[in-house]
Subunit: 360 residues, 2 copies
């Protein structure tokens, strides 16, 4: 996995995030995902640090794919967004309903329902504030945004789309890609606030879009004054049973709306970094680096670094076995979900004040 | 030429317009372009007649390509639009600025300038009223329209686009086509008035778009309640020197903003349906059916049928030779342009009240 990410450094010009941590520390306490190397790479993050230093305004752009339930794998992005919002960033959140509808072929009704009741409601419950916040459906936004995606069609070629997205790229995919380019670049337009510095926090699988959007920015630099966006890259969470976390396998993830009993049961069945026998584990220690339960703790359930280090040490030394660790993690998970789901109920009541819901 | 149009009847299901003239006459005096067979074909025009009979609301959709000057060849469409506006139709006019920019690669500045100062201003000077009128830039309209064009990307395939537009169809063309489908079908949406009956008057070269839009309507019939648009087909004007009227050959057309002296000079140099010698013409008569000057008269300069018939008879009988005919036509042309250009000056002052001009 880590070797996979190394390619991004080597071939695609992504830089290690740890190198910018010292400068960031001068202006803000880094997020625990940054401190722990979960956010591992960036392009042009210096622009964000510079904005923080000089008080220059900056924006965060993120997207969500409303094609199913929101789980802890999705939570990582919005945690970062909330962090930047706390630092004064303007937040733009694109609901990728057009990609969900035109490419993934989900009905409009389901798409809108997932977007509002799974994603946006959970975002608010997680602490996203309504100030400096623009959550929009790709199908329900401003004309200047649509003008941008229409204009981009002039300077993007079939050849490059095929290179990135495969030979059978069709109208739905092309529309989605152009729409996504507008998502990434529109906060720079005067109409949307004229944000010179826009940061897009993504998983490494999204980097081809980022590279294309940087190229598109260059192509429209003189015509529209567009600049390249900055981006950060975070590691993906492993599925609870190993392998990928996948929306089509409910046992691979814990959803933010899972009943706490169900969630705990999933966690208790999770793969760990434990050894074949208890005796062996007491002797060699566990391997938290390979452990989905440790990931849940370090990505989500323990924000205090010293507390997390205690867990790490107890595991690594063989002092704590997986059963005990899981029980402690389960308690944290249950507490988190119970509190979150209480906030979620209140969030559902204001969700339509935060996003304009399309009528078809 | 006429044989070319016959194919449309034979293979594509377009019906002769003359067949609906008697029914139309029961509710409205047909336009001179209809009476003279210049509008020669239709699909579903019965729906329009039915709307006129029952007082049901109906809409006209037309587009303009802001890639150069407006000439008499373009005037034919807006003459029809003005006719239908007089009969109570709601008028939608799409400025195809996205196609001009993304496919024809004209700068935004030129596109906007052509649209406003050539087309829209001339439309108003020709008599288009501001009531029940929606003139919009494709890049500067309502989100429900953009949602439509985004959604259409799901059910249109590369294969059919290649069939219609050629193998090298790219993102710009695809965006233009989807946008055009939204142009044709959006007046049916509740947001835009919910017009069940929408008529699109076009030249026969536009029929592939109409056929695609009818297919697209079928594909979204249950999801969005879309219905097939009706359409009419008019003959193209011949260029003044024979062949096509072409924007890239100023001597082939008379622009509505041509100086009357320049316009008259172009007309005086025009090809005619005359015979090689005056003697021959006196004996055999001229051939108005082949004459660009007679076209100018019958399409534009003489609306009274009896007056036009006099010209026809004097030509056909050999009584009037081309020189005389041209001098009379030139006088009509000069009078038309002088009056039109006076109205145009006033129109230019209100053009920004009629169309919302995009700021980039």
């Amino acid at each position: 996995m880590i070797r996979e990410y190394d390619k991004l450094f080597k071939y695609f010009g992504i830089k290690p995030f740890k190198d910018v941590l010292p400068e960031l520390r001068k202006v803000a306490e880094p997020h625990h995902l940054m401190r722990r190397g979960i956010i591992f790479g960036h392009r042009d993050f210096e622009k964000v640090i510079d904005a923080l230093k000089t008080g220059k305004k900056f924006a965060i752009l993120t997207g969500l794919m409303p094609s199913g339930r929101m789980h802890f794998g999705h939570k990582m992005v919005i945690d970062q967004v909330i962090y930047y919002q706390g630092l004064g960033a303007e937040i733009f959140i694109a609901i990728a309903d057009i990609e969900a509808y035109a490419v993934r072929k989900i009905s409009r009704e389901d798409v809108i329902n997932y977007a509002v009741n799974e994603y946006v409601a959970n975002y608010l419950a997680l602490g996203l504030k309504r100030e400096r916040l623009h959550i929009y459906f790709q199908s329900n936004y401003a004309k200047e945004y649509y003008r941008l995606l229409q204009m981009f069609s002039r300077k993007v070629t079939m050849a490059e789309l095929r290179d990135i997205y495969g030979e059978d790229v069709g109208p739905g995919k092309i529309m989605s890609v152009l729409t996504q380019m507008a998502d990434i670049l529109h906060p720079q337009l005067k109409h949307f606030g004229g944000f010179d510095v826009v940061l897009v926090p993504v998983g490494p699988d999204q980097d081809p879009h980022l590279r294309l959007s940087r190229d598109v920015a260059d192509r429209y630099a003189s015509e529209l004054g567009l600049k390249r966006p900055a981006s950060t890259y975070h590691r993906f969470m492993t599925g609870l049973l190993g392998g990928k976390m996948s929306s089509s396998k409910p046992e691979s993830y814990i959803a933010l709306t899972d009943d706490p009993d169900v969630a705990v049961a999933k966690l208790m069945k999770a793969l760990t970094g434990g050894r074949p026998t208890a005796a062996e584990q007491r002797r060699l220690g566990g391997e938290p680096e390979k452990c989905p339960v440790y990931e849940m703790l370090s990505y989500h359930l323990i924000t205090d670094d010293r507390e997390l280090e205690k867990v790490y040490t107890r595991c690594r030394s063989g002092e704590m076995l997986c059963g005990q660790c899981k029980r402690e993690a389960a308690e944290r998970l249950r507490k988190f979900l119970e509190e979150h789901q209480r906030r979620l109920e209140r969030a559902r009541n204001i969700v339509d004040k935060v996003v304009d819901i399309p009528d078809f």
